[in-house]
């Protein structure tokens, strides 16, 4: 088993606001990130896939294919966008880096049939990043993990 990581960058803006909270609570909880005009980041995305090395090609995955899926499924959708308004997933979900990493997994996973997605790492800044490994099947969440897989595949 070998792990391969591909890096890609995109720039996007967002702001944090939850309709479940009052305006004062939103300001207190999210601080500057609650500014309704939003603010932006140069996000750095690392996508790690894993698998055996193909005996004939010497590769774990066709990099061109992986790069194209990243471009089409993630970068085209997110780059130079106002996440809250232009990306449907964030119409009802706060575009924190946590949620964005999970959403990128959901965008990619069904399209990566030619390899196995291991990790999505998303840097908001060089000092802050989030890792998502998919729903982890454990004794208590195994059923939820399976359900998640089915729902994701059906999207």
């Amino acid at each position: 088993m070998i792990y391969l990581t591909r890096r890609a960058e995109f720039s996007a803006s967002h702001y944090y606001h939850s309709p479940a909270f009052s305006p004062e609570e939103n300001r207190r909880l999210f601080g500057k990130c609650n500014n309704p005009h939003g603010h932006g980041h140069n996000y750095v995305l690392e996508v790690t896939v894993r698998g055996p090395i193909d005996a004939r090609s010497g590769m774990v995955v066709d990099l061109k294919q992986l790069k194209e899926v990243l471009r089409q499924e993630v970068i085209e959708v997110l780059d130079h966008r106002f996440l809250n308004e232009e990306v449907p997933a964030f119409h009802h979900l706060i575009p924190t880096t946590e949620n964005l990493a999970v959403e990128i997994w959901r965008m990619l996973e069904p399209k990566l049939q030619f390899c196995e997605l291991h990790r999505v790492r998303l840097y908001e800044t060089p000092d802050l990043y989030v890792d998502y490994f998919g729903m982890q099947p454990t004794a208590s969440t195994g059923a939820a993990g399976k359900q998640e897989k089915e729902l994701t595949a059906g999207r």
């Binding site: 939850s18 909880l29 706060i94 946590e98 959403e103 000092d127 802050l128």
Partner: protein
């Protein structure tokens, strides 16, 4: 179907830095043995590093806030408990290192202990856990601790 309904677990890593000096010296060893073991790091005047510390917090994304831990809360906690005490200090003079050599391994364990002990001061992270402390002494040397039982003994005993 929203992410919130499933509360997926993520790992969030935040990176900080502080500067400190230290001298690697084990009092139970002879001077010559210290010099042989620690080399330049045994120089009596000590020397310094810009340490970079990464804390990784693992837990479910809170469906109301979209967060695994409130960053402002984490930053303030780390500032008070880790950065303030160690920044621009001589590590050997710190109480924790009176009987422990302040190698970066031991400093990494100490930071893990400090964060773990103060975890209740992070109300937003009570569903989450400390996954990892990574401490970089230089760009070429770094140490990680995940709290396994093998490294819990912070004792002055030698190899």
């Amino acid at each position: 179907m929203t992410i919130a309904q499933h509360n997926p677990a993520v790992h969030l890593t935040r990176r900080y830095w502080f500067s400190a000096s230290h001298r690697l010296h084990q009092p139970v060893l002879a001077e010559a043995q210290n010099r042989e073991l620690y080399g330049k790091c045994n120089n009596p005047g000590g020397h310094g590093h810009n340490y970079h510390v990464e804390l990784t917090v693992a837990g479910p994304v809170n469906p109301r806030t979209g967060m695994v831990v409130h960053l402002g809360e984490l930053d303030e906690f780390v500032q008070t408990r880790v950065l303030e005490p160690f920044h621009e200090s001589y590590l050997n003079a710190q109480p924790q290192f009176q009987n422990v050599v302040p190698t970066t391994e031991n400093l990494c364990l100490e930071i893990y202990r400090i964060v773990k002990e103060g975890w209740r001061q992070l109300p937003s992270a009570q569903q989450a856990t400390l996954e990892r402390v990574r401490l970089e002494e230089t760009t070429s040397n770094f140490f990680e601790y995940r709290g396994d039982s093998a490294g819990t003994a912070l004792s002055p005993s030698l190899m």
